[in-house]
Each structure stands twice: as structure tokens, then as C-alpha cells.
Symmetry: C2
């Protein structure tokens, strides 16, 4: 079993209730990597017998650090319409609620479709770039193969403020794993905190809320397979303890698979 599937496995306790367990492979500085928590909460809806359609939107609020070990996850379809379904998910431990989420699922049908924002053009192929070094980094970083064309955060650490937090990178699971909604939800949280790029040093941070919009169906994700995805991200504003950042996950051939936004606590 791939470590990601192990880390996001849910053991059913009752309808809409599951036991989950943190994985050392995806450990972060404090608690697990948030992307895996997003995947676990999405899985709780994906595996529910009343599920309708596929994910369109996912918001996860990180309420408290998840302690290493097991936790309980619940998923409730709060409203099911003809072609859309609204979910509420919660993760909890003895300390109380540790994460809250909502999701919108939908049965999609073919319509007029068009991109608007465009993927960067003319980038070097991922195979021609060096992988970001991950020694002495928090464990989850080793679970992703990241190759930057811009904003390789740690290599620029000189403590001198920089005005631009944009980054552009190829990335995929390590070991490679076929893409699905859970993996895409997790990869959407792979962008390093933009304050690291502005301050050019690590500062204490914690995402408080992340929202991801999905622009592909399961078949399109399966077509991406194990190939490198392209990730682009930038910060919007840093203000009195919180900043927000927006990112995009593109397929290997330039289709937008997900757009993702988050607001992050920081201490400075």
C-alpha cells in the first residue's frame, strides 16, 4: 500500500463515522501535514454510502494540532439536491474538535467550458531540474518530489526581505502514485508558506483555513496518472498575524485541475 493511502485510510465505526490515524511519513513540525488532513476529511465524504457525484469545493479549518495517534472523523450530508450535495466533516480527539470541513459535491455534465488563467509556458521539463533537497526537513516534505523553476524557498534563505512570494514548481508524490481527489486535495496544501519567501527565513506558521476548488472529474485525474503536476502560488497580503496565499495545480499538459486558497497564522 502507498504511504499516502495508509496515511488517509479510514476504518468505519458507524455510518459516517470513522477512525483515522496519523502517519509518521506525513508528520509536520507540529502534528500531521495539513494536506493529509484535507485528504482524510474528503475521504470521509467520498466513502460515505450516500455520496452523490464528485467533489467541486472543499474547505478545511484547522482548529487545533492533531496529536500523534488515532482520531475520529465524521461526515454528514447536510443537504442533498438533485445534482449537488453539501457536506460537513469533523475530526476530533480527546481534546475536542481538531479540524472542521465542508464540501460541495456535484454530478457534472458536459457544458460550454473554457480556461481563463493560463499555465506558465516554456518551462524546463521536470526531469531536467534538480529535486529540492529535503535533508533536515520536516518529514512530509520527503513524501513529495518538488522541482522548482521559481521561488525554491529554502535555497534563498538569507534573512533579507524580498518583495515577491511567487513560486513555480513541478511536483508529485514520492513514490509516484496515480492522481485522485484525495491526493489532489493534499497536494493543494504543498505550497510553502509565502512568508518564508518574503522574509527569506522560517517563521512559526500554521494554516487556519484552506479552500480548494476542483476543475476536473475522476477520469481526468486518472489520465494525469503519476506524471508531474505543475504548481504556481503567490501571497496576497501579510497583516497582523495572518496572511493569505493562492495557488493553482496544473496537469502535466497545462490544464487547471484545482485552484486553492488559504489563510495562515504567523508569528513575527
Amino acid at each position: 500500500m502507498h504511504p499516502f493511502d495508509h496515511a488517509t485510510k479510514l476504518q468505519p465505526l458507524a455510518q459516517g463515522a470513522y477512525k483515522a490515524e496519523t502517519s509518521p511519513v506525513y508528520a509536520n513540525m507540529v502534528g500531521p501535514f495539513g494536506g493529509v488532513t484535507c485528504a482524510v476529511l474528503l475521504n470521509a465524504a467520498l466513502q460515505h454510502p450516500d455520496k452523490l457525484g464528485q467533489p467541486v469545493a472543499l474547505t478545511v479549518n484547522f482548529a487545533a494540532p492533531i496529536a500523534d495517534g488515532t482520531y475520529t472523523v465524521t461526515a454528514r450530508p447536510a443537504r442533498t439536491n438533485r445534482s449537488t450535495q453539501h457536506w460537513v466533516m469533523e475530526a476530533s480527539q480527546a481534546s475536542g474538535v481538531v479540524a472542521l470541513a465542508t464540501a460541495v459535491f456535484a454530478t457534472r455534465r458536459p457544458t460550454w467550458s473554457a480556461p481563463e488563467i493560463q499555465a506558465p509556458q516554456g518551462l524546463p521539463a521536470p526531469e531536467s531540474l534538480a529535486r529540492m533537497p529535503n535533508v533536515n526537513r520536516t518529514p512530509w516534505i520527503k513524501a513529495y518530489d518538488m522541482r522548482f523553476t521559481q521561488g525554491d524557498v529554502f535555497s534563498g534563505f538569507d534573512g533579507k526581505d524580498y518583495p515577491d512570494s511567487r513560486s513555480c514548481q513541478w511536483l508529485r508524490d514520492d513514490p509516484p502514485r496515480p492522481l485522485d481527489f484525495a491526493a489532489l486535495a493534499s497536494i493543494s496544501d504543498c505550497f510553502f508558506p509565502r512568508i518564508f519567501l518574503r522574509r527569506r527565513r522560517a517563521v512559526p506558521i500554521g494554516t487556519v483555513s484552506i479552500t480548494t476548488y476542483f476543475h476536473a472529474d475522476a477520469a481526468a485525474l486518472a489520465a494525469q496518472g503519476e506524471r508531474y503536476l505543475l504548481g504556481t502560488a503567490r501571497g496576497l497580503k501579510f497583516h497582523n498575524g495572518f496572511f493569505d496565499q493562492s495557488g493553482e495545480i496544473w496537469s502535466h499538459d497545462g490544464h487547471l485541475l484545482a485552484s486553492t486558497h488559504q489563510t495562515v497564522y504567523f508569528k513575527e
Copy 2:
């Protein structure tokens, strides 16, 4: 009482439970303007006696049309930490849940702060621009004074596809009203659906999920007062029944007050 305060008034039923009522001033094609629903749900947390700090993030999922008349709103602080608080809000009618929301509140303190994205420069003053005509439009549009410098949606309706959905506009409540969090949450939903700008005609749409990040405290919002805000927005991708759009609300003097993202159902 200003019509917005009337439309977002909550009558306490019990701790964390309120009665709300739709207002004809903010009626939309089907049900109320979503911005007012965002404001009502945020108010339910803002008025809760256990509230800590000020809003940082708000996500509202529109689960079903709200029928004209009264509805019930609940707000529950799911987790209260030292400086952050996580909320779950729900609106319901006899038909079931009509809207779901989560919010993060926080006690902010002064830190290193910096903008990154910048407001458009050199725009004409709002007083020098014509107000967008609102005759024969859905009622809520009359509750906002909008003056476009780019992407004045309805004037461009010729049914010919256009590749760019960007817009830039001054806007404020009509009649003017001092800015606060509830008003900012509502104004964040004022951007017309980007598909109208791409298709250059109206098509059936409905926002399914909106997320707004707040970049100002109550004092900064009060300092904006009744002046015109600047709103900028663009679409990201239109695909098989859903598209997403991102926007920014800037103060009269170019400070980012909120960034906002939504995904929208469309029928084409």
C-alpha cells in the same frame, strides 16, 4: 435603520440560535442576494456572547434557495483556543438546511505586515464615473452603487464570447453605510458571475461556495466609513457546469481589505 441592518437583523431565540428574515430590498432572481446571507451567518457568530476576536476567514456554502420569509440561524463555537476561535453556522427552513458556514475568528496583534498584490493605479475617481444603470435588474443590484472602469457587464451584452472576464469597479452601499465586517462579507459577493462577462449574456447561475479572507480590523473598516471601495475580479476556469472566480476589495486609498473566492454553478 439602514436596509442592510434590517436585512441582516437577528432575533435571539436561545444562545447561538436566531430568527432571520429575508428582505425584498436584497432579493435576487431566486431567494435573497447571497452576500446578505453571508452577512447574516457572520452576524450569528459576531453576536454570540462567547465570541473571541474578529473575523479572519468566512466560508459560506449555499445549500438550497432560501424561500422568502423567516429562517433559523445557529452559530456554534466548535473550538476556542487562546487567540483563535472556530465557528460552524447553519441556516435552515422547513425544507432543511439552506446554508452552511464556517468562520475563523482571531485576536490579532501588531506584527511585521506587508502587502503583496497591488490595487490598480491611476483610476478615475468614482464621482467622475457614471453609475451602472439598474433599471429592470434584480432588486439587490439597486442596493449597491457600482461604477465600473472595466468589465461593466451588462453594457457589453452582445452574445459574442469574450476571452477576458476581468472587471474593476468602485462600489458602496446605497444609501451609504459605514463599513463593518457584515457589510464587507456581503460586498465580497457583489461581483457579477464571470460567465456573464465571457459569454456576454446572462445564463442561469448560482454560487455554491464562497470564501472571504479579511485583512483589516474593525477600526480599519470604520476608517473607510461610507467611502467608495474598489473591487477587482476575474474568473479562473469554466468547466462542465462550474466556474470559479477570485476578487479583491480595496479601501478608498488602496489597502486590501478582503480577498474573496467562489465557485459557481452554471447551466449552458
